[in-house]
């Protein structure tokens, strides 16, 4: 059996450095595009670094390898982070990042497999990724393949009813090769999630639906990595739901926990201030 992890022995310090670089990329990409979603892109950085560098079995040189672990970004608006990690791991050229959201770019405003075929799914209409992930995980079971499927949603996205159809299905069919990661940054477009339609208690809901639930700090690698590895090496019959508590806008002080940064691009002076802060931050 072939298993490939990009950097099995990577240190937490190295991952922190990658996360810092990705945040700088994300701010620059959204700033250059003049539109995008900085808040929810910055909240998911550590989760994606841990997945792509440490936990997932995949090989950037063989993007269509049948045995690869799959990642679906159901919260498609957070795709600046996905494109950045794909550049960091060598799937795409870093030079592509400034084309984000521009006509003809593989880096569409929401993930689009037609333009970037290495993606596992096209997303952007919230609530769909978990069902697609179930289809992939079912195919894995039918083929007796040992790849794992990770799906990331937002917390506001959990309000979509399709998630609950999917949440009933996955444990009933014993899809222990499937992991849902909820980037629980506690805000959605209009306001705090708890003020729009409170989804709490989130972990209890998934426990009641027969998922293994792990609640973690989604910025702390000492919690993220064990949780993802436990999910990847799941020995139970149940799928795993990781509720990752995160901070929307994480890493840029004037964006953190500010609802307005859900879907607004930083202006050139704001890009410069954010980059300066990220470059100066201790890791």
């Amino acid at each position: 059996m072939t298993t490939t992890t990009v950097s099995p022995s990577i240190s937490i310090e190295q991952m922190k450095e990658i996360a810092r670089n990705m945040r700088i990329d994300i701010i620059k990409m959204i700033g250059a595009a003049g539109s995008g979603h900085p808040g929810g892109s910055l909240s998911e950085v550590e989760l994606m670094v841990a997945l792509y560098f440490k936990v997932m079995r995949h090989d950037p040189k063989r993007p269509k390898w049948d045995g690869r672990d799959r990642f679906i970004l159901s919260k498609g608006h957070g795709c600046a982070t996905l494109y950045s990690v794909l550049a960091e791991t060598g799937y795409i050229d870093h030079a592509l990042l400034p084309t984000f959201r521009k006509l003809g770019s593989p880096l569409q405003g929401h993930p689009d497999k037609r333009f970037l075929p290495i993606l596992e799914a096209s997303t952007g209409s919230l609530g769909q990724g978990l069902s697609i992930g179930i289809g992939i995980a079912l195919a894995g079971k039918l083929n007796k393949a040992d790849f794992h499927t990770f799906v990331m949603t937002g917390d506001g996205e959990i309000q979509e009813g399709q998630n609950w159809e999917a949440a009933m299905f996955a444990p009933y069919h014993k899809l222990n090769n499937l992991t849902l990661i909820i980037d629980n940054n506690k805000q959605q477009l209009d306001d705090f999630t708890a003020k729009i339609l409170d989804i709490n208690p989130l972990g209890d809901k998934f426990r009641a639906f027969n998922w293994n639930v792990i609640e973690i700090d989604g910025h702390d690698y000492n919690q993220i990595i064990p949780a993802l590895e436990q999910a990847r090496n799941n020995s139970t019959d149940h799928p795993t739901c990781i509720v990752a508590n995160t901070i929307k806008g994480k890493g840029v002080s004037f964006m953190e926990r500010q609802v307005k940064w859900h879907g607004v691009a930083p202006k050139p002076d704001e890009v410069a201030a954010a980059v300066k802060e990220l470059e100066a931050a201790k890791i």
């Binding site: 689009d112 497999k113 037609r114 596992e120 799914a121 096209s122 997303t123 952007g124 209409s125 609530g127 769909q128 978990l130 069902s131 697609i132 992930g133 179930i134 289809g135 992939i136 995980a137 079912l138 195919a139 894995g140 039918l142 083929n143 009813g161 399709q162 159809e165 999917a166 009933m168 299905f169 069919h173």
Partner: protein
């Protein structure tokens, strides 16, 4: 009740939904990558025929159409050929965003079959009667849209669906369908089946309406109007070549479909006619309304879909033909 005097009758066969189930089971034996999904209507859509033979490759998702369509998208992206079925109205209307994003926009090789289409499902009433599925399916970029007229056509098209790489929607019916073909007839996606050489008018029909169109053709023959019938089992991509020939040779067209007049067969044909050879057209279909409970026969008559209505439309379009072409 509208009536006609022809003695022309077609023998009744099985419903196209049952033919779907049979063909799907055949396909399962031929291709191990074929999997099937249903949303708690497997006995009604006849996907249960596949389930009996291949239980490990059959998934019932419960009453959750959106999830079913998303799962089909994921299965397709991992090399399977999923066939997902439900009543047409629930599959298309509840699964539409998923059909759009997880299937059409991704270009997934997934197949969808909506049964109980049209109003011929009868007594269950309009919440179960799909009168817009063809329009919705045509609104999905890259989809092939099929509407078989009888069991032989349906069975053949299920095999064509599996061979075609890309998303496909097929509508099937609840009621028994008249037998029009036999097992030697060949059906290809996008190629109309043409009945007769009449050159006074062309009747372009789909699904259940093909039987009525053939009945109308026999009646019109008695009146001295020579009609040809095109069975347009593929709504998209529409057979523009056959339509152009029919328009050129007949000079007048009647479309007939068990569907709202908005966005179904008539719209597709009219566009092809307008592009190639504009001629007078009339349209038989459901007129901007939802139907009601009743027997299939009562409903097809009350909502203007039976052979006499096609005959009326033909007489009307025939009068509109220019005297000298």
């Amino acid at each position: 009740m509208a009536t006609i005097t022809t003695t022309f009758q077609l023998k009744m066969g099985m419903a196209t939904r049952e033919a779907y189930g049979q063909a799907l089971a055949e396909l399962g034996a031929k291709n191990p990558n074929v999997v099937a999904l249903d949303a708690d209507l497997a006995k009604s859509t006849f996907s249960a025929k596949f389930q009996e033979k291949f239980p490990d490759r059959f998934f019932t998702v419960g009453i959750a159409e959106a999830n079913m369509v998303g799962i089909a998208g994921g299965l397709a992206m991992t090399g399977k050929i999923p066939f997902a079925s439900s009543f047409a109205v629930f599959l298309m209307d509840k699964g539409y965003d998923q059909l759009r994003v997880a299937v059409a926009y991704t270009g997934a090789n997934a197949k969808f079959v909506g049964s109980h289409s049209g109003i011929s499902i009868g007594e269950d009433g309009p919440s179960q009667q799909s009168v817009e599925d063809l329009a919705l399916a045509c609104g999905l970029a890259g989809f092939v849209v099929l509407c078989p007229s009888d069991e032989f056509c349906a069975r053949a098209l299920v095999h064509r669906m599996a061979e075609h790489v890309g998303p496909v929607f097929m509508r099937t019916g609840r009621a028994k369908a008249p037998i029009i073909y036999n097992e030697n007839d060949d059906f290809q996606i996008g190629q109309a089946k043409i009945h007769g050489k009449g050159s006074d008018v062309a009747i372009i029909a789909t699904g259940f309406e093909v039987g009525y169109a053939l009945q109308a053709q026999a009646q019109l023959e008695q009146e001295g109007i020579h009609a040809r019938v095109l069975d347009m089992h593929t709504i998209k991509p529409i057979d523009e070549e056959a339509i152009e020939i029919a328009a050129t040779e007949c000079g007048a067209i009647v479309c007939a479909e068990e569907h709202l007049l908005d966005g179904g067969l008539g719209s597709q044909v009219a566009r092809a006619v307008g592009k190639t050879r504009p001629v007078p057209m009339e349209f038989v279909g459901i007129q901007n309304t939802y139907a009601e409970s009743g027997t299939p026969e009562q409903l097809m008559d009350k909502y203007g879909l039976t052979a006499p209505y096609i005959v009326q439309a033909v007489r009307k379009v025939f009068r509109r033909k220019p005297a000298v072409r």
